[in-house]
Symmetry: C2
DNA sequence: GTCTATACCCGGATAGAC
DNA sequence: GTCTATCCGGGTATAGAC
């Protein structure tokens, strides 16, 4: 692995997250890298390719999870847990995906299913087979809650260096709490 | 009110929501309007001004709500309810705000407080005065859930024309359900 | 593997006629 | 109130030397 390539990805990740994909220029990346924009094109054929390099893994994971759904309805805890881990692993990247619509356009070209279609599947699975309107709303709420709470949890540690080694990882206690929250969201009101 | 102005806003709203702010060009708006890009500049001094025209009201409402927080801690149900209504009123616009970072840049120039600062305040208010880590996570979860569930509820009606007059408005039953969900999220796990 | 130089296009915005 | 024409800047990408 060219290690300049890795540096470019690291820099791009940071800039994309902070300023968005369209809000970041090749010149911005090159400046941070200490080279010129032309140098980037030795390592990547296009700007979109840099984005691809960043999102390939998390998107594959997303696709893998929704693939399981085809087999049959999973336990909500499993599904929600998988998404917590996905959000934690991809960190700030998760936010990037649905922030900039132009990112979606880039992504959807290289995916078997569109993001939108995958999300629909997840909602359907969370809402359950005989979902009424309330169940669908709760599924949306749970899905959104997981993603944002996970990102918030990681962000809370952003400054703290004393949290042992793996700064940026999701605290197991936080994971448990978030899962608990999400599962409770899915409960119909009658079960209150 | 120039009614061409209103048409431009309506068109821009739709395009911004669908393709994002940076993903929409003046040419796109002009095409839909049936004129040229130059014509837009008779009605608005810049592209950013069109965005302003669209977001002014919802942002003022957001600012008004956070203003109340300065006075003292509100009942969570009031605060959450206010945000459900805000999300419902601004519809798809709500999504626009935290999607494109360049939108944030435009907005923050004309706001007394930054969006980020306002969000922090809301989270703090929802988490409560003696908030532990779990309470903060629950606050984030509740805030995200409200926004997404409300947008989902409205989206569910998108196609249905038979829902009497006010298509696009939030069903009171949905509102109640979403509020119930959000309030439950804020409950500490012990209260399960 | 990185440079200089530059082509090319496109988006926002302006000038001035009608 | 809208047009034609055009400027300007900046962004992606390429050519070709080193």
């Amino acid at each position: 692995m060219s290690q300049t390539r890795e540096r470019i990805l690291a820099i791009a990740r940071e800039l994309f997250v902070r300023h968005g994909y369209t809000g970041t220029t090749n010149a911005d990346i090159a400046r941070e890298l200490g080279t010129t924009t032309a140098a980037l094109y030795y390592h990547f054929p296009s700007k979109a390719a840099i984005l691809d390099g960043l999102l390939a893994e998390p998107l594959a994971a997303y696709h893998r999870i929704t693939g399981y759904l085809d087999a049959g309805p999973p336990a909500p805890a499993e599904l929600l847990g998988a998404f917590i881990d996905l959000a934690a692993d991809s960190r700030e990247l998760a936010a990037l995906i649905d922030r900039d619509p132009s990112v979606l356009a880039v992504i959807d070209k290289r995916l078997p299913r569109t993001i939108e279609r995958m999300t629909e599947q997840v909602i359907a699975a969370l809402a359950g087979p005989d979902a009424d309107r309330g169940a669908v709303l709760r599924a949306h709420a749970a899905f959104a809650a997981i993603k944002h709470a996970t990102m918030a949890a990681i962000a809370l540690d952003a400054g703290a260096v004393d949290r042992a080694l793996d700064a940026g990882a999701l605290d197991p206690a936080d994971r448990a709490e978030i899962l608990r929250i999400a599962l409770r969201i899915l409960q119909p009101p009658a079960a209150d």
